[in-house]
């Protein structure tokens, strides 16, 4: 009898759909993936839903509603391995900018009929709710890395996704440092690799969409950015971006914001 194909599930929480779209953007590999795994639950692509348990669940999006906080626990129960894909699932995403405000007041001001809206005060990462087996970074994720993660989990090994900074990727790509050569502010020194250092190759600074690298020195980088003429407010905004709720970026942003407030 033929060996049972591993079952793959893709789940969506608060997000833009871009990370799950990365799987459909693997135009050259998609049919091969479909030959290797059973796509058992992927609503964006199929009406067909096969019941769990699932061998691998890819989770996109952050938790922002009581219903989703419950749903992710269910997904965990049904999944042998649970991997988060992208900044929303891994750090709360751009919608975590709400976390810096008092959302209850905010909703009352915002909506004509607040009763229609059910939302939590914070947008949080999946790992704040359930055990996560692996976190794939990026806003959006890199599709090569996605294929690596799928292959690794189905093959029973850890994915090979380096945790060094974007700076290393610039060197590998042969891109001249935009900060040193052009004085362009860049988050590359503190940002997790994975994108392939796209922004500096297009003559702009990295804006940190892959979130913090391992042990980033955000204080030193902040000093450098001040030296290049950036204001504390601008630096705070840059850290409070697509991974604003990742600890290191949140703290670095808060610190710069505080400095700015102290000055005014």
């Amino acid at each position: 009898m033929a060996k049972r194909k591993p079952k793959l599930a893709v789940w969506k929480f608060a997000s833009c759909d871009g990370c799950q779209l990365s799987l459909l953007d693997c135009e050259d590999e998609l049919m091969a993936v479909a030959d290797t795994v059973e796509i058992a639950n992927f609503l964006e692509a199929s009406r067909r839903v096969t019941k769990g348990p699932y061998d691998l669940s890819l989770v996109e999006g952050s938790i922002t509603t009581p219903h989703d906080a419950e749903r992710i626990r269910q997904v965990r129960r049904l999944s042998k391995y649970l991997v988060t894909i992208g900044a929303c699932a891994t750090s709360g995403g751009i919608q975590a900018l709400r976390n810096f405000k008092d959302v209850k007041d905010f909703i009352r001001i915002v909506y004509a009929t607040p009763d229609y809206i059910s939302t939590l005060d914070k947008s949080t990462a999946i790992s704040e709710h359930v055990k996560v087996d692996f976190e794939l970074r990026g806003c959006p994720i890199n599709k090569r890395q996605l294929l690596e993660v799928i292959s690794a989990f189905l093959g029973g090994r850890r994915p090979n996704t380096p945790a060094h900074s974007v700076c290393v990727e610039c060197k590998l790509r042969g891109t001249v440092c935009v900060m040193v050569a052009h004085g362009t502010p860049c988050l590359g020194p503190v940002t997790h690799a994975g994108c392939g250092a796209i922004c500096p190759a297009y003559a702009r600074g990295c804006y940190g969409c892959f979130g913090p690298m391992e042990t980033p020195n955000t204080a030193s980088l902040s000093d450098w950015l001040i030296g290049l003429g950036a204001s504390e407010g601008e630096i705070a905004r840059t850290f409070h971006g697509f991974n604003a709720w990742a600890d290191e970026f949140r703290q670095a942003g808060d610190l710069n914001e505080k400095k700015q407030d102290d000055q005014s």
Binding site: D17, G18, E27, E44, Q95, V110, P140, I198, C199
Partner: protein, 430 residues
């Protein structure tokens, strides 16, 4: 005895985002129709306040992973409207080119992976590939070429990084297009084949006298510029959008229903663009439309798969035209001087007209943002279609009717992620 029937789909499949369908039939009459949108809101318009204008194209791209270029284009054009800057010449052409890439990528996704399985009787494109491998493979090839345009100009397919207010961060050399050009030529041939294939599908007999709304430009098929026009006499600029359109808050949806004041539901997207701009399509696209038996008017939303295929052909044709006349501009972007003002823009996202409005202070900080995506404009029309469609088919077996209701929704390629993220926000002024 009077028959009661409820059609319920808790999680709509093959749409972007989370939605549900609810239809209640009683005594042979459709009593209630709801396209429920329960995707959680993400409050973009709220947290855009206090951000710098230069960040807005990157931030708004994150509303939608399928059409980030549309958000970037509406954002930069609105900002340039506020700062009284006009991007012209090759930079303008490159913006059309990157939009061509997004239309191809997004239309190919919808035609082959989301919509075609309905016509051919499969649950998804993977199942469909077992019997129609060459069709699915063609779709993937076309989609890939669209993505290649976006990657080349934007740095990556999803959430590209190269678009900025005033132009781009970096512009390509002429020679960068050599490889792409070949693929576009092949793609254009396949796109013609694809229109012929789509036209041979069988379509339910269904028409409606819609009010179509789209941009119309003096001599181009619309992407970034033009007046907002309709087939029922509307003709306004983007600046007058708020005077003519109004958003209604309904309990069953986390997205507002946008309607024309005093007129009601209207339709945006490929069908609207086609009906209002047939004469602006390239000769090749017009000729192909006639060849497959289309006239200048198409009111059957199920045939939107043919129109999307035609628009994809147009996008290949237009991309080739732009590349062939390309000369690298001296500077990748224009100088921007922020000033206190409000800017407005509409551009044509793959799914239809996308409106952005920003009020900015003299330091370039956003004070207020307003965004109306295509899907919230189409919601009311989709519900109208469902009502009309079910009314004529009440006796149809439930599972078949459910499937066809889903198809009625998928005709619009609804992007629920977009729609939800734009609940209209009225914040008190500080």
């Amino acid at each position: 005895m009077k028959k009661s029937k409820t059609i319920k789909v808790d999680y709509l499949a093959r749409v972007e985002g989370e939605g549900a369908l609810y239809v209640r039939i009683k005594g042979g009459v459709v009593e209630d129709v709801k396209l429920k949108i329960f995707e959680p809101p993400r409050f973009f318009e709220a947290f855009l306040r206090g951000r710098h204008y230069d960040e807005v194209p990157d931030i708004t791209a994150r509303i939608c992973g399928i059409c980030p270029i549309a958000y970037q284009m509406s954002a930069v054009h609105a900002m340039e409207d506020a700062f009284e800057v006009k991007v012209e010449g090759q930079l303008r052409a490159l913006r059309r080119l990157i939009y061509c890439g997004e239309w191809i990528e997004s239309h190919a996704l919808h035609i082959f992976m989301l919509h075609a399985p309905d016509f051919l009787g499969y649950e998804d494109a993977i199942q469909m590939a077992k019997d129609h491998r060459e069709i699915v493979e063609r779709g993937l090839r076309l989609k890939k070429t669209g993505n290649q345009i976006v990657s080349l100009l934007g740095g990556r397919e999803i959430h590209p990084i190269n678009v900025r207010v005033g132009g781009f961060y970096k512009v390509p050399d002429k020679r960068d297009f050599i490889d792409l050009r070949e693929k576009l030529e092949r793609g254009r041939d396949e796109a013609i084949e694809n229109v012929r294939w789509a036209a041979r599908l069988s379509f339910p007999d269904f028409e409606h006298d819609y009010e179509f709304v789209a941009l119309r430009h003096a001599d181009e098929y619309p992407f970034n510029e033009g007046q907002i026009v309709s087939n029922k006499g509307l003709e306004i600029s983007a600046r007058a959008f708020d005077e003519h359109f109004i958003e209604e808050h309904v309990s069953h949806s986390n997205a507002l229903h946008c309607v024309l004041k005093g007129r009601g539901a209207y339709l945006v997207g490929p069908l609207a663009r086609y009906n209002l701009n047939f004469d602006r399509l390239s000769p090749l696209a017009q000729e192909t439309a006639r060849e497959v038996g289309l006239t200048e008017v198409c009111r059957n939303p199920f045939q939107s798969i043919i129109i999307r295929s035609l628009e994809m052909l147009y996008a290949f044709d237009e991309a080739l035209r732009i590349i062939d006349q390309y000369e690298k501009p001296d500077s990748p972007s224009l100088e921007i001087q922020p000033r206190a003002a409000t800017g407005y823009a509409c551009t044509e996202a793959p799914r239809g007209m996308l409106y952005h409005r920003y009020r900015v202070d003299d330091g370039g900080i956003i004070l207020d943002a307003g965004i109306v995506p295509p899907t919230s404009q189409n919601q009311k029309t989709i519900e109208g279609d469902l009502r009309q469609f079910v009314t004529g088919r009440i006796e149809m077996p439930a599972d078949q009717l459910t499937l066809q209701c889903e198809q009625t929704i998928r005709n619009y390629d609804p992007c629920i992620s977009c729609a939800t993220h734009f609940l209209k926000l009225h914040l008190e002024r500080e």
